[in-house]
Subunit: 172 residues, 2 copies
């Protein structure tokens, strides 16, 4: 039986930071860099972040994380891929998120998508995520995807990767 | 630690059949009874059912299954309740479904809601569902909620209930 991988969307499949930086500059005139916000959770780094992610449309046009489509296309043959997003906090955004997935990852079917409020209820062999709150309680193999909010964390027992090429190296 | 119960929405928390019968009569002039459709899956019993459940608005105003709110209010204190719906097949309906849950079960938070395409990825102790396709592969205790489509099934190793009062008797 194929091993099951839980793959997070925002900050792993979707490059949310490029859009966060752009919106922040549009709304405040301030050009932030990764250095300015390293180590801060998204909502602390960008004062309007909670407003943005609650607004219909936000998740519809996010840029892809480089290499994510090609890597997942290959991994989808070898593993049972389940795409998981903590999305029920934002009930007006799930349709956008699913349509974005269908547009950008057409090989991921609706049967492979989970929107939930707590990833602890899911069972799988491997979890790829950018948030420790999800990885820390997971029983299987954990892969931490580097994003600005987690880049200063040094002591982690999760395997850290900074690109989809590194994920492929680990898993294929 | 509290035991975890996965509770299905349609046909368990929401009385979908009352709405199916009403819409069928409105659209065809034909008044069906439970006897007419016993044993048929929803889409075979009502020729427009797939259209209805794909249409935004359908899940927003469904009547409650009698006793479900009161029973779940009590069970929510004793168990970890996770509400699960196979909803990613209908990406335009998840917002309706979640708002309906918030209106009718305000004590169920967004953290307790899962929309997915395959319940096999979930782990819990107990599952309450009206579909064998979900119950048959579940590792824990399984409770089959009687609905017209499953009422003719006799040989089942799931515990059958026909009301929320029966569920309470089993679990409290």
């Amino acid at each position: 039986m194929k091993k099951c991988i839980l793959v997070d969307v925002d900050g792993v499949m979707a490059d949310v930071y490029t859009t966060f930086f752009k919106l922040h500059e549009q709304e405040t005139g301030e050009m932030l860099t990764i250095k300015d916000i390293a180590g801060l959770l998204e909502a602390d780094a960008f004062m309007n972040q909670r407003k943005w992610v609650s607004t219909p449309g936000f998740f519809r046009d996010l840029p892809l994380m480089p290499g994510s489509r090609e890597a997942l296309l290959r991994l989808n043959d070898l593993y049972k891929i389940i795409v998981v997003s903590l999305a029920t906090e934002f009930p007006y955004c799930m349709t956008d998120k699913q349509l974005w997935l269908h547009d950008n990852f057409p090989f991921i079917t609706w049967r492979q998508i989970v929107f939930c409020g707590d990833k602890n209820v899911l069972k799988a062999d491997i979890m790829i995520d950018d948030h420790l709150k999800n990885l820390d309680h997971f029983k299987g193999t954990t892969i931490l995807f580097t994003q600005p909010h987690n880049m200063l964390i040094r002591d982690t027992y999760h395997t850290r990767v900074s690109s989809w090429a590194e994920i492929e190296k680990l898993l294929i």
